[in-house]
Every structure is written in C-alpha cells, then in structure tokens.
C-alpha cells in the first residue's frame, strides 16, 4: 500500500480477524474511512458487523490484522481507550443516564472542575455550546435526559462524542427507533458532522439510507469484506446479491391464495371492523404510532379495550390465554422486551403457550419438548447449538424464526404478526414469507394471517388485502391488485 494513500485515511482496518472458539466471526475484514466521509457498512445479521464494531471500539481484541488511526497504530484495550483516542460509538440502544441532566450527560466523566468542585456554570455553558454547534440549541441543558424524546437523547449522545473530541463516529442502525421526521433531522446532522471533517461509519439495513448518506459502502458477508463501492456506482440488486451471496429473485412467493370462510370477525368500537378469511393474508399499514399495533394488541386481548373478537364460532373474552386455546397466536413487534424471554432456552420460548400438550397432568416430558422444538428448528432452519441454548445468544433472524415457531407449535389457525421481519436479514425474511405462504395455502386447513408492517413492498408482496390505519382509525380493506404503494402512502399520510 502506498504510504501517501494510507495517510489520507483517518481510520484503516486491514485484514481483521477474530474467532470465538472454533468459529471465525471475522475472517479478513478491511475497511477505511477518510475525514469528511460517510462510509456505510452493510451486511446481513450475523455477517460480523457488530463484532467488527466491537473490535473498533476496543470491546474485543482482534486475533489478527491491524488498525491505524491518522496513520498511527490503533489497538484500544477497552472502550474507554477507544474514546480517548477519538473513536465514538452511537449504538441502537442509547447509553444515557436518565436521571442526570443533559449537560451532565454530555460531559459525563469529563466534568469541568474548579478545584475539587464541579464547575456548574462552565458545564452548562459548554453543553449549550456543543448543542448549538449541532443545530439543536432548543434542547434544555438542565432537563433530565430521561424526559427527552428518543431522538433528542440520540443528539445528546452525539454531543457527548463531540465533547470528547471524537474524530471517528460510528452509527449502529441509528434510525431503528426514530420516527420519519426525526430520521430526516438525523441525516442532516450526520451530513454536517461529515462536513466538519469527522469520519463517519454508518451501519444500516436500509439501502435507501445508505444511498442518502454515504459516499462509499462496504459489504460484509460471513465475516469478510466482500466489496467496497462508490455508492453512486452500484445498484441495489448488486448490493443485495453481494450481501446474500446469491441473488434473491423470488423473495415473495406468489402461490395463488384461495380465501375460504371468514375466521376472524373483529370490531373495536370507534376504531373500525375487519374480517379475515382462511387462506388469505391481510395487511395493516400506516405510520408508526398510527395505531396499527394497538389494533392488533386489542384483537389479541393484550390491552384492555371494548373490542369484540369472534374467531370461528366463538366470541373471545379478554385475555391472551383463551386466544392460544382457540389457536390464535401473536408475534410481538418488540422481540427483545416482549416477544422472547432472552435468558431462557429456545425450547422454553417455543413451547411456552402450548406446554400442556407435551405431557399429562401438568407434567412435561423433556424428551417430547426437545423433539417438538427440534422439529421447528429444522423446519425453519434456526441456527443454534441445541434446543436448550439461551435464545438471546441467537442472531436476530434466528430469534424471530423461533418467535414464529411458537405459533406453529401452538398450531395456530389465526396468526397476528406485528412487524414480523423487523431487523432481520434477508434470508430469514425469505424464510418467514415462505412459511406464511405455506400456512395460508395448506390444503387441509388453510390458516389466516393478519400482519402489520412498516415496509410497504413487504405488504404488497405478501398480502391479499390491505387496510390503512390512520390516527387510530381502520380504513377500508382493498385487494392488493387494486392499489399501489403511492396510494397507500397518500392515504396513510393524508391529514
């Protein structure tokens, strides 16, 4: 490598390797980012993005390869040293101390002092300065950080990185918990950070975001950096092919669906009514916060509402237990907090609603439990060590497959799916679409699916009928052939 070239880069990672036991998580990753550049890192879940970032932030030490920062060797022993050297991370899960003020959060660990005392005036002034520099002078430096919105908390974190003098900032899927307008704000902010000469690494699932922000992108697959492109010189299809290692021509299976008798007839007073037939997939779209999730939760009896829910011949009272008994199951949008008990094993998670069928008189046969779980592990291709492995150790896609397997194990007739493919890789998405298709086209007992999604191509690809939820109101159901994504978007955003 030419010496002159490498000194232009702010950060260089060369042939980084890292193994855990026999498994190579990183097997030769090279990545460089120049001052003023936004470099995007894309790849499926499990491709090694998070391990790479842990190496960069000093949480893991690499087994091989080298890193340089501004031409000098860079090998942080821990995250603290990484920060001191000027590498800051903005994670998906924010690390704000909710009870401290904004100013205290920004200068946490670097508080200006006067002798032994905290210099409150300087602290507040400098915090206000930093926020003004970010174009967010509106954030009150004296407010408790926990009272801010998520997007404001994110800005506080960015301000903290700047206050520490970071020259490289890594964003790890920063938009996953933001509303649309906050995303636009964040993008502007990232642009301005780059314009100031900071080097930005931006990790995302969303190719649109990568296109909007980055000048170069690197694709990671199976722990290797497969390719680096100028963003303007590569097509989406090419990126996806490189991410998956094969082309995903038929992501959405288009087996003809033959809707049969109505299975679900539901009405929530003041919000709307709908029916779902056996053998069809019905989609609910709308903006985040429009009430789609609340609708689904009301149907599943998770929240107390006046919903009247009929499944087949039965009118269901409130409560989730009776729904599982009637073969109605739900996948939560919030996999980590609600969907799964992360510390428990796969088998415990998959079999939880239907434990009684695994034995007699309240006893469970461990052999049956393993056998049932193994069946779904194989059917859905869940990558794991054994059925009792804690589910929190699996990748997002495999976790979601397990959350889905719960509904299969309970032999559900009606599947309520809330963002069933959020934050999972393309291969896992393809698998879930395939299983949905298989369930609704079952020749003996076609199932019914009602799903909520924020991703319109997915709804248009999977559903037979779609309704828009706007401000808590359910719109009319329309056949998917009669609508376009533009029309849906217009209906969702119409005020």
């Amino acid at each position: 490598m030419v010496a002159g070239l490498s000194s232009e880069q702010r950060l260089e990672m060369r042939a980084i390797r890292k193994s855990f036991g026999a498994q190579a998580a990183l097997d030769g990753v090279s990545l460089s980012v120049a001052p003023g550049e936004v470099h995007a890192l894309v790849g499926e879940n499990g491709a090694g993005k998070s391990t790479l970032m842990k190496v960069l932030s000093g949480a893991h030490q690499p087994d091989g390869g080298e890193m340089t920062l501004d031409g000098r060797p860079y090998a942080p022993a821990d995250p603290h040293e990484a920060r001191r050297r000027g590498v800051g991370m903005i994670y998906q899960e924010l690390s704000i101390a909710p009870h401290l003020t904004v100013a205290e959060n920004i200068f946490l660990g670097l508080e200006p002092r006067r002798g032994l005392l905290l210099d409150c005036a300087a602290l507040r002034a400098r915090a206000a300065d930093t926020l003004r520099g970010l174009g967010h002078a509106g954030i009150d430096v004296d407010a408790a950080a926990g009272t801010l919105s998520i997007s404001q908390q994110q800005i506080v974190e960015i301000a903290r990185s700047l206050a520490m003098g970071c020259r490289v900032i890594v964003f790890d899927e920063p938009t996953s918990s933001l509303a649309q307008e906050d995303v636009a704000q964040l993008f502007k902010l990232i642009d301005s950070l780059a314009a100031r000469g900071l080097a930005i690494i931006y990790i995302s699932h969303f190719l649109e975001e990568v296109r909007r922000l980055s000048s170069r992108l690197t694709v990671l697959r199976d722990g290797r950096s497969v390719a680096t492109h100028r963003t303007t010189e590569v097509t989406d299809a090419q990126i996806v092919t490189e991410m998956v290692g094969r082309s995903v021509a038929e992501l959405y299976p288009r087996t003809p669906h033959r809707p049969g008798e109505a299975l679900l007839a539901a009405e929530i007073p003041g919000r709307g009514a709908l029916t779902v037939r056996r053998g069809e997939v019905v989609g609910l779209c709308g903006l985040v916060g429009a009430g789609r999730t609340e609708f689904l939760r009301a149907l599943f009896g998770l929240d107390r509402t006046a919903a009247s829910v009929r499944v087949g011949a039965f009118t269901l009272p409130a409560g989730t237990r009776v729904r599982w008994l009637r073969h109605v199951g739900m996948v939560s949008e919030n996999r980590k907090e609600e969907g799964l008990a992360l510390a428990l094993g796969i088998a415990d998670n998959v079999c939880l609603p239907s434990l009684r069928q695994l034995g007699r008189g309240g006893f469970i046969s461990p052999a049956q439990r393993s056998a049932h779980t193994t069946r779904w592990i194989e059917d859905l291709g869940i990558r794991c060590q054994d059925p009792d492995q804690p589910i929190g150790r699996l990748s997002g896609g495999n976790q979601q497959k397990a959350a889905f397997a719960r509904l299969l194990e309970a032999d559900c007739d009606l599947l309520l799916l809330d963002e069933p493919t959020r934050g999972i890789d393309i291969a896992a998405k393809a698998k879930i679409y395939q299983v949905i298709d298989r369930l609704v086209t079952d020749p003996v007992r076609p199932r019914a699916v009602l799903m909520v999604s924020s991703y319109l191509p997915e709804l248009l690809g999977v559903c037979d009928r779609i309704a828009v939820v706007r401000r808590g109101q359910l719109g009319p159901l329309r056949a998917v052939a009669d609508i376009s994504s533009e029309a849906l978007m217009r209906e969702a955003t119409l005020s």
Binding site: L302, E338, G339, A343, Q385
Partner: protein
C-alpha cells in the same frame, strides 16, 4: 444444528456443578487443614441439623427468586409458624392437626404478600420489608413475647434429634432426609411441570409470559404461597431443633436463606435458579460456620469469612456467565 462447542459444554457443566464444587472445596479445606471432626459422623449430623431450617426455607425461596420476586419476611414467617406449631403441640394436638394448621398459617402469610404484590402492585422488596415486621409482631403477640417450651413433644423433636443407635443406618437425622425429599419434589415441579416452566417464564420476562397466555398473576400468588408453605415446614424444624417455639427466633434468617439461593446459582433478576443449588448454598454456609467453630475461630472472623464467601460466590457466578 452444530454440536456444542467444548467451551460451551464446559460452561454448562460448571454452572450445574459449580456450587457443589465450592461445597467440596470448603469442606475439604476444613478437613485437611483443620479439625478432622468436620468429617466425623457427629460433624455430619451437626451440619445437617443446622442446615435443615435454612435449607427447607431456601427451597421455597428458590421458587420466589426464580419468579423474579423476593421475600424478606421469611425469617418472621418461620418464627410465627414455630410459635403456632409449638402452641398447638404443647396444647396436646397431634401431628395431624399441627401440620396442616402450621402450613395454613405459612400459606396465608404468603398469600397476603402475593396479593399485595400482584393486585396492589407493590414492589416485593418493600412489601416484604413490611411483612417482616408484621409477621414478627404477630408471632410476639401470639406467644405473649415468650418462648414456648416444646422439649417434650417427641414426635416433633424426632426429626432433628441425634440419631438413636438403632437408627444409625440413616446416617443423618430424618429432618435431613425430609429436606432432600422436599428438594427432589420441588425440583421435579420446577423442571418438569407446566407450572414450573411458567415460574421460569414469568421470572425471565413477564411480558413474554403474558403474551404467551401464562396466567402471570396466578403464578405469582402460588409462588408466594409455596414460599409460605416451606417457611411453615422450616418453622416446624426450628421447633424440632431448638425444642421451643420462639417468637424472636430465626431473626436474620432471611439473609442466610437468600444468600443460600444466590450461592446456589440463582439470579436475583429472575429466570435462573435450582433447588439443589440452593440446598448446596445452605450447606456451604453451615460448613463454614461449623468449620470455624470446630477450629476455634472466633465469631467475628467467622462472619467475615461467611460474608466473603457470599461475595465470592456472586463474583464466580458473574465470571461463569461471562465465560459461557
């Protein structure tokens, strides 16, 4: 599926047998470098006699802690139940009356805690800090603030008396066997029943349990009632051991009991724990105490050692979790 990596398997073995290993090491150290009496039949008997009260209550506490709850009033519940049992037994009631009434007393106390936690939505820690005083007060009131002598109640004393020569083959007092049998039963319930798995699910993630149709409220109520039932049995064993129902007895036991469960590998944030681990935790603490006494180590040093072991156990547990 791939086969488990050797590291993961080692971690699993360690987390299953870690507490047992600790017990053997502690006992071995005292035996090798101290008074050999800790390995004698009398030493064993004395260890068991001192462990049973804590151990039985720790079985119930395991249910509570696995469900992500806590019961700080278990010592008071033990004292209350010992008073109830002693009072009835001294008044001439037989085991067929004493046992159910004492159990009922313990379970009602547990139910009260459960109702406060579930329906009034109080935090278990604070709730049981309150019931700690309430139950102690009830015990004192019921016993008129005086210990009730039950030395002569043979059928109760039998459980933790030194073994008579014709029963030497039992090796440890019957109370010890009772504790082991209860632990076996409790293990079966926690691991192989729907209810047991629901306890783990509620402790690991209450929202998930609710989503999956687990009757979260009922599970929590039952868990505290089970805790109360084991506290009652523990109270009976206290009478057997001390020969009296003492309203000021078992003071501070809650800490020993919770420490036993934690040394045994349970997590105070719920979802993790094993009954036999808790028993071993209780044994570790008794062995340290007995060992110190036998070797003439004074009370202050004993306490420091016990405390250090608890901290060490939690530390080892953290390292173990990080390793696997």
């Amino acid at each position: 599926m791939t086969s488990s990596a050797p590291g993961a398997r080692f971690g699993k073995i360690l987390s299953t047998f870690g507490p047992l290993l600790a017990l053997i090491v502690v006992w071995g150290l005292f035996f090798l470098f101290g008074n050999h009496a800790i390995g004698s039949a009398e030493g064993l008997e004395s260890i068991v006699q001192q462990t049973v009260v804590i151990g039985i209550a720790a079985i119930g506490m395991t249910f509570i802690i696995v469900s992500a709850g806590i019961d700080l009033s278990v010592g008071s519940a033990i004292a209350l139940c010992s008073v109830v049992a002693a009072k009835l037994a001294v008044g001439g009631c037989g085991p067929m009356t004493v046992l159910p009434v004492t159990l009922l007393a313990g379970m009602v106390a547990g139910l009260a805690i459960g109702l406060l936690v579930v329906y009034v939505r109080l935090i278990p820690f604070i709730t049981t800090l309150g019931t700690l005083l309430i139950l102690r007060g009830l015990a004192l009131g019921l016993a008129d603030s005086q210990a009730i002598n039950a030395q002569e109640v043979g059928w109760l004393r039998f459980w933790l008396n030194s073994l008579p020569d014709n029963l030497r083959w039992l090796m440890i007092p019957p109370g010890g066997w009772l504790m082991i049998a209860l632990a076996a039963g409790a293990t079966a319930v926690l691991r192989f029943t729907v209810f047991g798995r629901h306890v783990f699910a509620v402790g690991s993630n209450e929202q998930t349990a609710h989503l999956c149709g687990v009757a979260v409220h009922r599970v929590k109520l039952l868990v505290y009632m089970i805790g109360g039932a084991f506290a009652a049995l523990s109270g009976l064993m206290l009478v057997a051991y001390q020969g009296q129902g003492d309203p000021t007895g078992a003071t501070g036991y809650e800490l020993d009991i919770i420490a036993s469960v934690v040394i045994g590998g349970a997590s105070l944030s719920g979802g993790v724990g094993s009954v036999f681990g808790s028993l071993i935790g209780a044994l570790v603490m008794t062995v340290i105490r007995t060992g110190c006494t036998l070797n003439g180590i004074n009370e202050s040093t004993t306490r420091i050692i016990t405390g250090a072991i608890i901290v060490l156990a939690v530390l080892v547990d953290r390292l173990r979790r990080r390793a696997d």
